[in-house]
């Protein structure tokens, strides 16, 4: 339990660091982003003077010195006030509320499946060295991992979507569907998610496979595995309960850095598929200098990474009894 507490403290510190970084970044940039914004969106600013205030608060200006602006900023964050988006003319909070669920859906399904597929294949590949799994799955997935997410998405869209017409190639649901909790909508959403999820699996399963395989190979040499065999336990039981249960722990600890880069992959996949998640929104907002959205999304993404890590930490505590008494 103390382990979890320590991790939680770290995540709080990291969140604070992310917020502060967010605060400092526009102020550290050469030139003034504020001027660029005024130039681009002059009209909207003139018609809504409050916006200018908010912008100054989040981007920094000569009006407010840093030591006043910072607590002001922290206060805004605490109350959930992220400002307004220019492009969409809506509060940023609402935008996040509309897009985050789709991203979580994609990430949840996609990375969960790639974890399951990757670790299972890794376990099998290590158990039967030189067998079919090891000789086929390992090189194939390792090769796929080298293809950047956007390239693989393009290839998938072109060949599987356009040419072969097997999958829908953009958006999260058909243009004529209503968003509702009905079976037909769910089905539609799932169909639209197939190709992006497939791409996500293709790019990330390889990492899980290799990590699991290598640790498995070491674990198989451990005494308790030999002892389990000697006791006459079935092959499958030794492979899963004795070897894999232990081998999965080191790859899980690498989850932190994995998830941070996974978010990058998510953004690229969303852009290619025009999937209405936070990744696509971030790109559009950044290109359009819609700074309120950009800053808020960076924070949201950082927070998601931290939350995902904390969930993984909890999972780790459940799986490894040695950590509990540490």
């Amino acid at each position: 339990m103390r382990f979890l507490l320590r991790r939680l403290v770290f995540y709080v510190i990291a969140l604070w660091a992310a917020i502060t970084l967010n605060f400092l970044l526009p102020r550290l940039m050469p030139g003034s982003p504020l001027d660029g914004l005024i130039a681009n969106y002059g009209e909207q600013i003139r018609s809504n003077p409050q916006l200018l205030q908010q912008l100054k608060a989040s981007l920094g200006s000569a009006d407010e010195p840093i030591w006043q602006a910072y607590p002001h900023y922290l206060g805004d964050i605490a109350t959930g006030d992220f400002g307004r988006s220019f492009a969409k003319q809506a509060p940023v909070g609402v935008i996040i509320g509309n897009t985050l669920p789709w991203s979580i859906f994609l990430v949840g399904v996609g990375f969960l499946l790639s974890f399951v597929v990757g670790t299972t294949l890794g376990m099998l590949a290590a158990w039967r060295r030189g067998g079919i799994t090891d000789n086929v799955a390992t090189p194939v997935l390792m090769t796929l991992q080298s293809f950047p997410a956007f390239f693989l998405s393009l290839v998938a869209v072109y060949f599987l979507g356009l040419k072969l017409g097997w999958f829908p190639i953009q958006h999260a649901y058909s243009n004529d569907s209503e968003i509702e909790f009905s079976a037909s909508f769910m089905g539609d959403a799932i169909r639209h998610a197939q190709l992006p999820v497939l791409v996500i699996i293709a790019i990330s399963a390889g990492g899980w496979l290799l990590g699991m395989r290598n640790v498995m190979i070491t674990t198989i040499g451990e005494d308790y595995v030999a002892f389990a065999h000697a006791k006459g336990l079935s092959d499958r039981r030794v492979m899963t309960q004795y070897a894999a249960r232990n081998a999965i722990l080191p790859p899980l600890t690498g989850f932190a850095s994995f998830f941070a880069s996974a978010v990058g992959g998510l953004i690229l996949v969303e852009v290619v598929f025009s999937y209405p998640g936070v990744g696509l929104t971030l790109q559009q907002a950044a290109l359009g200098h819609d700074y309120a959205v950009v800053q808020a999304l960076l924070l949201v993404l950082a927070l998601c990474v931290l939350v995902a890590n904390f969930i993984m930490d909890c999972l780790y505590v459940v799986l490894d009894p040695r950590v509990r008494s540490a």
Partner: protein, 337 residues
Amino acid sequence: MTVANAPVVTSVGAGTGDVLVEIEGLVVEYPVSGGSVRAVDDVSLAIRRGEIVGLAGESGCGKSTVAHSLLRILKPPGEITGGRVVFDGQDVLALAPKQLRQFRWRNVSIVFQSAMNSLNPVMKVGDQFVDMFKAHGHVRKSDALRRSAELMELVGIDPSRLRAYPHELSGGMRQRVVIAMALALNPELLVMDEPTTALDVVVQREILREIEVLQRELGFAVLFITHDLSLLVEFSDRIAIMYAGKVVELGAARELFDGPLHPYTVGLMQSFPPLSGERLRLTGIPGSPPDLRDPPPGCRFHPRCPRAERRCSTDEPQLTASAHGRLAACHFPGEVA
């Protein structure tokens, strides 16, 4: 009396029980770059019911490999490429996988060197007992746990520790748990592979005492593998000495200790200082064990042997009965250098 090619009666000097395990001409090979290495080269050994046989030798002489071959738990890429292992009439090397799984633990069980690592770190001790029982028959979990509790008491551990994880127990306790597991199905042979090496001397003694008590109670045979010859002398009925993959001497423990025949055995004896009695000068054995990829011709020990003559580098001596009623693989057994 040397009968060069007749099968050697490797149970010479044993007690009166009948033969339980017969290992004949066992060969175990490991592939290496450019060929293969025979970790065990034509080893024959018989163990009788209820007998305690010690198997001693330096690291790398093949003693653990012999033990693992009995249960067929050799780690790849090692392979049994020759010989027979007959356990109570069953040809162990010919067992199908399912029969092999039943054979293991019911007939033979093993305790490893670092028993601390023999327990799965993420499973409770009790669950590991239950796993074992379930693998050998349909038992209810409650029955399995009850039997496990009895076993724990047998080795002197509070049965409530069944709910603990291995890392919550001390090294000595884990060793006892492993022994309890090894005896769970009442095997006829218990193999102990350097079971006390990783423990301190006091705990070593305790464990050995307990094994002795259990052995008298339950009547199983023991194959005790170690490099510590002094342990074997008190503990075993017979001792086999291995060198470079071969058995070089075999006989009743006390006799072997009082009058070793093979020069290697002599050297081993002289390497251990006695705790009591007069101070002896310690002499090691000069040189080092041979590279098994290219073993010396003739007798494998001859480069280090004080008795060696020309014949030793050309003629490999077979394990033959000497006048003393014991077996030694030497052209000049029992002679002082």
